[in-house]
């Protein structure tokens, strides 16, 4: 698994990248009450703000980690946003995207590097 500076985790699943937010991020956000996901089929560029998360405290955005196409979204977290707090690394993934070049993931942090960032 890889991690971004924006506290996203990235997991390779076949030829897709699954994206979610880290435990650290979900704790910092507080109780999540609303999630808006991009539409399937959307072409995104790295850095595009494509997800809105609202907690009891504030609204924040999640950016696309890489260029690519959104091929699947997790409607379960739209219906039940509290899943993002309950299981951020598992059940509460946000979207899956198809990227041109999986080797681009190498630019992101591994788990140890991410732990150094948040500790």
């Amino acid at each position: 698994m890889k991690f971004t500076e924006d506290h996203e985790w990235l997991r390779i699943e076949g030829d897709l990248v699954v994206v979610g937010i880290t435990e650290h991020a979900s704790t910092q956000l507080g109780d999540v009450v609303f999630v808006e996901l991009p539409e399937v089929g959307t072409m995104v560029a790295a850095g595009d703000e494509i997800v809105v998360i609202e907690s009891v405290k504030a609204a924040s955005d999640i950016a696309a980690p890489l260029d690519g196409e959104i091929v699947e979204i997790n409607e379960a977290i739209v219906d039940e946003p509290s899943k993002v707090n309950a299981d951020p690394l598992g059940e509460a993934w946000f979207f899956k995207m198809k990227v041109d070049d999986l080797s681009l993931l190498d630019q992101f942090m591994d788990e140890d590097e991410y732990k150094d960032l948040v500790d």
Binding site: G30, D31, V33, F34, E36, V52, E54, V56, K57, A59
Partner: protein
């Protein structure tokens, strides 16, 4: 920016796992380990302990209570002179334009008037009082007392464990009571829509009292985050957001705090800043009204969201003044100021969130019924 101020219970908050944030110049607990949602729900179900020591506590003395009360009526549209002994009342300082300078609680304590004011307005309020009160009235800012609030349906049972006399108090009664070894100034009031008490306690006894209350398993420490969502569901105004120097009390739906004796035709009608505008607006002429707003979807509509009558085009007819998620309602809730013509309950409006117009309905406040012991 000047140095952050620290309050008597800061070490206790940190020990309890609070996340401390700067608020109105003070280091304050915004939430504890439970998090805002659970803290909010716990307060509605049992009892929550809030540290609100950042608020200003002021004592005004004169020849007698009546002398102080009559002088104070020059600053507020409230019947201060007619307030019963050991009774408390909500009020607000007005300005010449008919806006609100701050909202406050005042109590008749027999030989003095006790006033509690918002932290962010403290200095301005004190200056306003010093300038507006005659030389015969002395103002003492209380710096050596903390202020705690115990709120929720079990607050009475919990506090009665320390002093059974609290049971006899009614909503807005005030009393001097011994709690955990200290003489406290206790009022049956709060800012959550729940029954409860606000307790002014000597600073050096505050930690003992807080620990005594927290040792009761029915009590949880509650931060400013849940305090805000609780008051929002209860339809209570937050100064600087729902009300400010440009909002008249009538627009804000706070005309109920102006007793008959201060209204047109009353024995002490007017005589406060902005009286002409405020009293004329009491006849239903306020250009705007504060309303409850229930967004249709799940997206919270926060402060600043502009409100429209149509899904496209047109000009804003108002804006959200407080908004977020209501844990007890289980959905987003908001309050806003809208043009009078669009303030009728049931009116469909649209709030513009991230460039999209989302439907929102004007509803009656509060969102959760008040649970006071009258």
């Amino acid at each position: 920016m000047s140095e952050l101020l620290h309050l008597p219970l800061e070490a206790l908050h940190v020990e309890l796992g609070a996340k401390m944030v700067p608020f109105a110049g003070y280091s304050m607990p915004v939430q504890y380990g439970l998090g805002v949602m659970k803290e909010h729900l716990h307060t509605r179900a049992a009892a929550g302990l809030f540290d609100v020591s950042h608020m200003g506590q002021v004592i005004l003395r004169g020849a007698d209570y009546q002398a102080v009360a009559q002088a104070f009526e020059a600053l507020v549209p409230v019947d201060v002179a007619g307030l019963g002994l050991n009774r408390q009342r909500y009020g607000y300082f007005t300005n010449q334009a008919g806006g609100i300078e701050d909202d406050l609680m005042l109590a008749n304590r027999g030989d003095h008037l006790f006033v509690v004011i918002n932290a962010a307005c403290k200095d301005a309020d004190i200056a306003l009082m010093r300038a507006g009160l005659p030389a015969g009235v002395t103002l003492e800012v209380i710096e050596d007392r903390a202020l705690l609030a115990l709120q929720g349906p079990l607050a009475e049972d919990v506090l009665a464990g320390l002093n059974p006399a609290v049971r006899a108090m009614r909503f807005m009664d005030v009393a001097d009571l011994d709690l955990a070894g200290a003489t406290c100034w206790v009022s049956r009031s709060g800012y959550t829509g729940e029954d409860g008490y606000e307790i002014s306690v000597p600073a050096d006894a505050a930690e003992d009292l807080a620990r005594a209350l927290l040792s009761d398993e029915r009590v949880e420490a509650i931060g400013l985050g849940a305090r805000d969502s609780l008051r929002l569901e209860a339809g209570l105004c937050l100064y600087g957001h729902d009300i400010d120097a440009h909002t008249s009390p009538i627009e804000a739906g706070l005309g109920w705090a102006i007793q008959k004796v201060r209204r047109t035709g009353g024995a002490r009608a007017g005589g406060f800043p902005g009286a002409a505008r405020i009293l004329s607006e009491l006849d239903g002429k306020a250009p705007r009204a504060r309303v409850g707003l229930l967004p249709e979807g799940r997206a919270p509509m926060r402060e600043g969201v502009e409100l429209f009558t149509t899904a496209e085009g047109g000009h804003p007819i108002g804006r959200v003044t407080s908004g977020g998620f209501g844990p007890t309602v289980g959905a987003p809730v908001a309050m806003g100021l809208v043009a009078r013509d669009h303030a009728t309950v049931g009116t469909q409006l649209y709030g513009e969130v991230r460039g999209k117009r989302l439907p929102v309905t004007v509803v009656t406040l509060p969102f959760t019924p008040a649970n006071f012991k009258r």
